[in-house]
Symmetry: C3
Subunit: 348 residues, 3 copies
C-alpha cells in the first residue's frame, strides 16, 4: 500500500488542514480503535473526546468542529467527514474487483450481446438473447436467464441466479445467492382443496445504483413488473414478492418480507424482520422499526412507526411501558375492586 | 403470439358468450390495468364496475354474473373465471421451459438412470445412483446428491442444491437457491459447554405437485424422513427443520420457520414470518396470520389464529384494540383510585 | 451394513450390559418408533416406560437407571446415552463424505496451496492465493474467493459462496447456499436522499468446530473482522451482519438476525426468528426465546429472556397471561367505574 499525503486529501475535498501538514498515511481505522499513524474520521462532534485520545495520525472532522484542547493528530476539516472517508476507502483501498475477460469454463450463448471489458467467471451461464453492458462483472457460478438485460458497471457476485426477461440497471451490486425473477407465490384454490398454479408471466425491473444483499429473493410479477427503484438498498435474506414496487432510495434491513403488490414509497427506511401484508401502499419517507407488522396503508409521509400492528413510535413506547407492568395494573384493579366492595358494604 | 378466438375459449370451458362472438385476443392483462383488446377476468362479482370501464376486449366472468348495464367487452361466462384464466395462461402463454437434452458442460454420473427427454443444464452435477424421471428439467448450476430420486416432469431451476438420498415426486417445481436435505440442527450439549453433532441420517421425502420457493431450506431427518405432502406450496426463504411433516395442500408464506418434528396438518394456510416451536401438532385446515408464534398443539381443525403466542382471530383483534389504548386504561385506573380514596375519606 | 455386537459397544463406552450379551444390531432407531432388533437409546429416565414396550433389541440407558420390571431388550448402561448413541452413529453409520481428489471439471488457481487428500468437486472454483487445509472437502458448485484460508477437515457442501480474504477454522461444516463475506450493509445518507456505499474492507474470521446452516449469510466487517467463535452452531437462514462477534459455543436457531457490531457472549442459546438491534452486548450464557427482539445490552450472564422487547422469562409469562385477558380487564375497570359513580351519587 503506497502512502497518501494529508495535502492530497485536503486538496481533493477542499479541506482545511489543522496541525502538521507534512504527514501521510497508508492505513485507515476507526477512531476508537485506531492504528497508530492511520487515517480516521469523526462523524459526530459529540464524540469529540476521541480527538484527544486517538492514536490516529490524521483525522477527518467537520468544518464546524472547534477544538477544546490540543491534539497530536493532524485534522482535516471537510464538509462531511464520513462521506469523505468512504470516498477515500473507495479510491485508494478498494483494490478488489479488477477482473476482466471471459474465463475458459464460462458459458455464454452466441446470441447474447456483450459490452466491452465484461468479466464472466468460470461456471457462469449466460443464456440466449441477453444484453450485458460494458464493464459488467459476473463472478463464477452465476446464472443469467434468456433475454435478461444488465446495465453497465453492474457487479454480480458468485452464485447469483437471475431468471429470464429481467432488466437490471447500471452500477448495481448484487450479492451472492440472490435470486431474481423466481415465480410469484400465486395459487388459485380449487374445490378439492388443491391449488392451481397461476402462471407468473411478468418480470422484474431494477433501476440504477441498486444494491441487493446475499440470498435476497425478488419474485417476478404475475403480469407486468416487480419494480425496484433507483438507489434502493436491500440487505440480506429479504423477500420481495410479485408485483411489489419499491420507490427510489428506500432501504430495507435483513429478513424483512414485502408481500405481493405492496407499493413502498421513496426514501423509506424499513427495519429488520419487518413484514408487510399484500396490496397496501406506504407513503414516501416512512420509517418502520424492526419486527413491525404493517397491515394497512400508511398515508402520511415521513412518520416513524413500530409494532405489530404498527403504531406511531411515541405511542408505541408509551404503550409498551404499560404493557410491561400489566400484572401490577391487574393487581391494582383487583385491589380497587376490594375497596369498592368495602365501601359498598359500609354504605348499606 | 398468435390470436386466440373467443369461441375457442368458450368451447374449451363450456362457457356462454355474451356479446360479439367474433373477437379474438393475443394478450392478457388485469382488468383494472387492461391492455385494449386483451383477455381479462373478473374473479369477484363485487368488483363488477370494472366490467363497464375496462379496456379489455374479452372478459371471463362467473356464470352467476348478471349485468346491470351494457359493456363493450365480450363476456364469457364460466364456472371459475380465475382458474380458467390461469389455464389459458398455462396453455397459450407459458412458452418458457422448452429445453431438452444434456448440455455439454453438465456432469452426470454413469450409474445414474435418466428418463426420456430430460434437460440437464451446463454446470449442473448429478451424482451416482440417482434416478431422474422423464421430462425432468434441471437448469444450470444445480447439484443432485447420491441416490436421490426425482419424479417425472419436475422442474429444478438453476442453483438448487439437493443432498443425497432425497425423494422428490413428479410435477414439482423447485426454485433457485433451494436447499433440500441439509443436516438437521441437532447438537447434544456436553459438560464442557461444547456440543456434539448428532448425525443426521434420515432424508427428505417430497410428494407430487409440490412447489418450493427460492432459497427455502428443508433439512433431512435425524432418523426417518422429513415429509412434504402432495400439493404443498412453500414460498421463498422458509425454514423446514428435521423430521417435520407437512400435510397435503398446505401453503406457507415467506420467511416462516417450522421447528423440528412439527406435524402440520392438511389444507393449512400459514402466513409469512410465522414460527412454530418444535414437537407440536397442528390440526387440518388451520389458518395462522402473519408473524404469529405457535408454542402448543392446535387440536381443533379449521380455525383461524393470530398472535405470538396465538389466540383465536376474533379474540386477538379484541385484545389488540385494548392493547393500543393501554395508557388510557392505566390513566382511568389511576383516576378511579383517586375517586375511591376520596370516597374513603368522605366515609370516615 | 455389517452387524455390531453389544459387547463391542459396551467395551467402547465402558458400559454395563444388562440382559442377553450375545446380541448385535445393524440398524438404529428412535425408542418410540423402534425397528425390531435395532439399537436405540433412552436419554431421559422419565420416559422409562418405553423400555418395556419398545421393539428395540438393544437400548443405551443411563448408569443411574433402575429397572422397575423386566424387559426383552438388552440394556447397556453408559454415562450419557444420547452422546453415546451419536458417537455410534458417527462411527458406524455415517458412511457419507468419503470423497477425495480434485475432479476434472473443478477450477483451482495455480497459486493456491492445497493440503493432502482434499476433495474438490466439479464446477467449484478456488481463486488465487487461497490455503486449503488437509482433508478439506469442497462439494460441487462452490466458490472460494482470493486469499481465503480454510482449516483442515472442514466440509463445504455444494453451492457455498465464500468471498475473498476469509478465514475459516478446522473441522467446520458449512451447508449449501451459505454466503460468507458479502458486504456489510453500510450506506451513508447524502443530502439528495441517495446513499453513498461505505466500502466494506474487513473480513470474516470463523473458529474451529463451527457448523453453519443452509443459506445463512455472514457479512464481512467494514474494517476489522466479523468473528464467529469456536464451536458456534448456526442454523439455516440466519443473518449475521458486519462486525458482529459471536462467542464460543453459542447456538442460534433459524431465521434469527444479528445486526451490525453486536457482541454476543459465549454459551448463549438464541431462539428462531430472534432479532438484535446493532451495537449491543449480550452476556455469556444468555438464553433468548423465539421471536424475541433485543434492543439493549444484556449485562447479567445466564438469564432467560423472551418478548419484543425482551423481559425476564417469568415476568413475560405473567404479563402474557394478563394480556390475553385484556378485554375482561377493561370490562372490569368500566364496571368499577359504574360502581364508583353509584357510590358517589349515593354519598351526595
Amino acid at each position: 500500500m503506497k502512502s497518501i499525503s494529508v495535502r492530497e486529501i485536503a486538496k481533493f475535498f477542499n479541506g482545511e488542514i489543522v496541525g502538521d501538514d507534512s504527514r501521510s498515511f497508508a492505513l485507515v481505522s476507526k477512531i476508537d480503535q485506531a492504528i497508530p499513524g492511520s487515517l480516521s474520521f469523526l462523524a459526530n462532534n459529540k464524540y469529540e473526546d476521541h480527538l484527544y485520545s486517538s492514536a490516529a495520525g490524521i483525522i477527518l472532522v467537520s468544518r464546524t468542529m472547534e477544538l477544546k484542547k490540543e491534539t497530536d493528530a493532524t485534522l482535516v476539516k471537510v464538509d462531511d467527514p464520513y462521506s469523505a472517508f468512504c470516498e477515500i476507502l473507495n479510491k485508494y483501498f478498494n483494490t478488489y474487483s479488477e477482473k476482466k475477460g471471459i474465463e475458459d469454463k464460462a458459458y455464454i450463448d452466441k446470441s447474447t450481446i456483450c459490452g466491452k471489458d465484461v468479466y464472466l467467471g468460470s461456471f457462469s451461464y449466460v443464456s440466449a438473447n441477453c444484453k450485458i453492458g460494458e464493464r459488467v462483472k459476473i463472478y463464477p457460478n452465476s446464472f443469467i436467464g434468456e433475454g435478461t438485460v444488465i446495465g453497465a458497471d453492474t457487479v454480480i457476485y458468485s452464485g447469483v441466479k437471475i431468471y429470464h426477461d429481467i432488466k437490471i440497471g447500471s452500477q448495481c451490486i448484487i450479492h451472492s445467492g440472490c435470486v431474481i425473477g423466481s415465480d410469484g407465490f400465486g395459487h388459485a384454490p380449487q374445490r378439492d382443496g388443491s391449488y392451481l398454479k397461476i402462471p407468473q408471466l411478468g418480470n422484474v425491473v431494477i433501476g440504477d445504483h441498486v444494491e441487493i444483499g446475499a440470498n435476497t429473493t425478488i419474485d417476478r410479477a404475475t403480469l407486468g413488473s416487480t419494480v425496484i427503484g433507483n438507489g434502493v438498498k436491500l440487505d440480506n435474506l429479504i423477500q420481495v414478492a410479485h408485483n411489489v414496487e419499491i420507490g427510489e432510495n428506500t432501504v430495507i434491513a435483513a429478513l424483512a418480507g414485502v408481500s405481493g403488490s405492496v407499493k413502498l414509497g421513496k426514501n423509506c427506511v424499513i427495519g429488520g424482520q419487518v413484514g408487510f401484508v399484500g396490496h397496501i401502499a406506504i407513503a414516501d419517507g416512512t420509517q418502520i422499526g424492526a419486527q413491525s407488522g404493517i397491515s394497512k396503508n400508511v398515508d402520511e409521509p415521513g412518520k416513524q412507526w413500530i409494532g405489530s400492528p404498527i403504531m406511531p413510535l411515541q405511542d408505541a413506547f408509551r404503550t409498551q411501558v404499560v404493557y410491561r407492568k400489566l400484572p401490577a395494573l391487574k393487581a391494582k384493579v383487583e385491589e380497587l375492586e376490594k375497596q369498592i366492595n368495602e365501601l359498598q358494604r359500609n354504605g348499606q
